[in-house]
């Protein structure tokens, strides 16, 4: 078994199993947690509409913080949009998802994906520099933050190396790229990358609680 066979086979299988088990473990564990007793009189019902409202409004910055957070907001949105495009709009990736789910969709030309990939890495680096230079962010950052950044950027960088055949042969670069994705998938449920599946659950819960308490959302 060569490195590429290992990456596409056992490594990807293992990563997929850890991702599925870990994600469900985290979600079930959180959903089943005992709720704190709410002794105050509810100001509103705090239903799912409140949850949806906060999921939507939290996507935008409050006016008071707009100026201060403009730079990281642009970089963060740029990075997330770039990640989405490189993962879901690159044809070999679409073929991968099609093999898994049976669905396919149109992709973008490789040159555009390559450009987006480079821009995504640049925005990721910009965010890391900010985290490492801002006194407040530096103080509240821990291993999880840096490692989550690392496992997110690694598949991007290894993926960008493939078309330029840098350092290794194509099949070895592809294997390294897939292995880096496996590392990210294994880490995803357990670290801060868990926001991939928790972001809407936590924001929705916040919305429901805040509405019950009469907070402006």
């Amino acid at each position: 078994m060569d490195l590429l066979e290992f990456a596409r086979g056992p490594a990807l299988q293992f990563a997929a199993l850890v991702l599925v088990a870990g994600t469900i473990w985290r979600i079930v564990g959180i959903v089943m947690l005992r709720e704190k007793p709410d002794y105050s009189e509810p100001r509103a019902s705090g239903g799912y509409l409140a949850a949806l409202k906060v999921i939507w409004t939290r996507a935008f910055t409050a006016d008071a913080f707009k100026k201060a957070t403009l730079y990281p907001k642009i970089m963060a949105y740029g990075m997330h949009a770039g990640l989405f495009a490189t993962v879901f709009l690159f044809t070999p990736h679409i073929v991968f998802f099609e093999g898994w789910t049976g669905f396919d969709w149109p992709g973008l030309p490789n040159s555009i994906i390559f450009f987006i990939g480079v821009a995504t890495v640049v925005s990721g680096v910009a965010l890391l520099v900010r985290r490492m230079t801002s006194p407040v962010l530096k103080l509240i950052s821990n291993f999880d933050d840096y490692f989550s950044w690392f496992v997110t950027m690694l598949p991007l960088v290894t993926g960008l190396l493939i078309p330029v055949r840098a350092l290794f042969r194509y099949e070895d670069l592809l294997a390294i790229h897939i292995l880096s994705v496996c590392l990210m998938l294994v880490w995803l449920p357990f670290g801060k990358l868990g926001h991939t599946f928790l972001v809407f659950i936590t924001r929705g819960t916040t919305g429901m609680v805040f509405e019950r308490r009469g907070a402006k959302t």
Partner: protein, 351 residues
């Protein structure tokens, strides 16, 4: 002593023009990535070379490699070069059979001790010597006996190089390639199913010219031919970059000659010269004919997933395994939440 004609004399007798011969030498120099100044040297070496003795051993194979090398629409310079070697033993092509054939092999080995080439096509079964025998001799015994006095060994085709189809999972005969058994002689792998005839003759040309084997890659293949992927040299590569893919064998994309990646093309991971040297006197190669590359010059290409399964498809195993992981996730989540509640209760009571 019997007069042995030179290759040049034989080619002249066969009617090959000087121009045609030099053209072949220039092509060979180009393919081997040698400077133009080496063309006269190649020409002189090939012209003046005595017919090298070649012993061709065929083991677990389909004769496709021999077909590839011998079948040509019209006599080519490569073909004549093959006529010009002293092919002293070849099951399919020789007239002799049985004891006479074996006597010819032994005679060639004795007369050319240390100087003859052994060409092998087909894999060698190690599961049971009786799986494949010639004149009552097992393949492994014949190979090891024949290579003792050889100058070099050339494994022709993917079976001889890596085990090929006989070595595919579950490998019922325990098939192995030549390089797995021959450790004390230079072994050149010319894989492919079948390999390109020009690559074969160029390896011989290099041996005749320099007395050495070419530079090899990690799989023992000549770098001059196996240094680039099919994908890197494919004329359909621009379509890959533009994101234009054939979705089926008869759609508009296929008719327009778009990239065959989605139809399972293994070009990106396959090292061979098909896209540059091509087949049938440079007419075309499989992708040019509308079929994805199967990756036939790569080790274990039969076992690397389906031929029509795209390269980036993952191998996740069964859905039942994933379902099992989901169930395990639910169990772990319930256990974690229950443990959390118990801990909460304990601290609440203590407080």
């Amino acid at each position: 002593m019997k007069y042995t004609p030179t290759v040049g004399e034989i080619l002249q007798a066969k009617g090959v023009s000087r121009r045609g011969f030099l053209k072949y030498c220039a092509t060979t120099a180009s393919l081997l990535a040698l400077p133009p100044s080496m063309i006269p040297r190649i020409a002189a070496a090939i012209e003046n070379a005595r017919r090298p003795s070649v012993i061709w051993l065929s083991f677990q194979e389909c004769t496709g490699c021999t077909e590839s090398l011998t079948r040509s629409a019209s006599p080519t310079v490569e073909g004549l070069i093959f006529d010009a070697i002293s092919l002293d033993y070849h099951h399919t092509l020789q007239a002799a059979a049985g004891d006479q054939a074996e006597a010819a092999r032994h005679a060639a080995m004795e007369e050319n001790d240390g100087a003859y080439l052994v060409l092998v096509d087909g894999s060698i079964p190690m599961g049971n010597p009786g799986f494949s025998t010639i004149a009552g001799i097992s393949n492994v015994d014949m190979l090891l006996d024949t290579v003792k006095g050889a100058a070099a060994v050339v494994a022709i085709g993917s079976c001889a190089a890596f085990g090929g189809l006989p070595g595919a999972n579950p490998n019922p005969t325990g098939a192995v390639g030549v390089q797995d058994l021959v450790k004390d002689k230079p072994v050149v792998n010319v894989p492919g199913c079948p390999p390109i005839p020009t690559v074969m003759t160029a390896v011989l040309a290099q041996f005749l010219t320099f007395g050495t084997i070419p530079d090899l890659d990690k799989h023992g293949r000549p770098l001059a031919y196996f240094g680039n992927t099919i994908h890197d040299r494919c004329y359909r590569r621009p379509f890959y970059e533009q994101g234009k893919f054939a979705e089926s064998f008869d759609d508009e994309g296929a008719k327009a000659g778009w990239c065959l990646y989605k139809l399972g093309c293994k070009g990106p991971t396959t090292y061979n010269a098909c896209a540059t040297v091509k087949w049938n006197q440079g007419t075309s190669f499989p992708i040019e004919s509308g079929h994805p590359c199967l990756g036939c010059s790569e080790p274990k290409f039969w076992d690397k997933g389906g031929f029509y399964q795209p390269l980036s498809t993952g191998h996740f195993g069964s859905g039942a395994t994933v379902a099992g992981a989901a169930v395990a996730g639910v169990a772990l989540g319930v256990a974690a939440a229950t443990a959390g509640k118990r801990r909460q209760d304990k601290y609440t009571k203590e407080a």
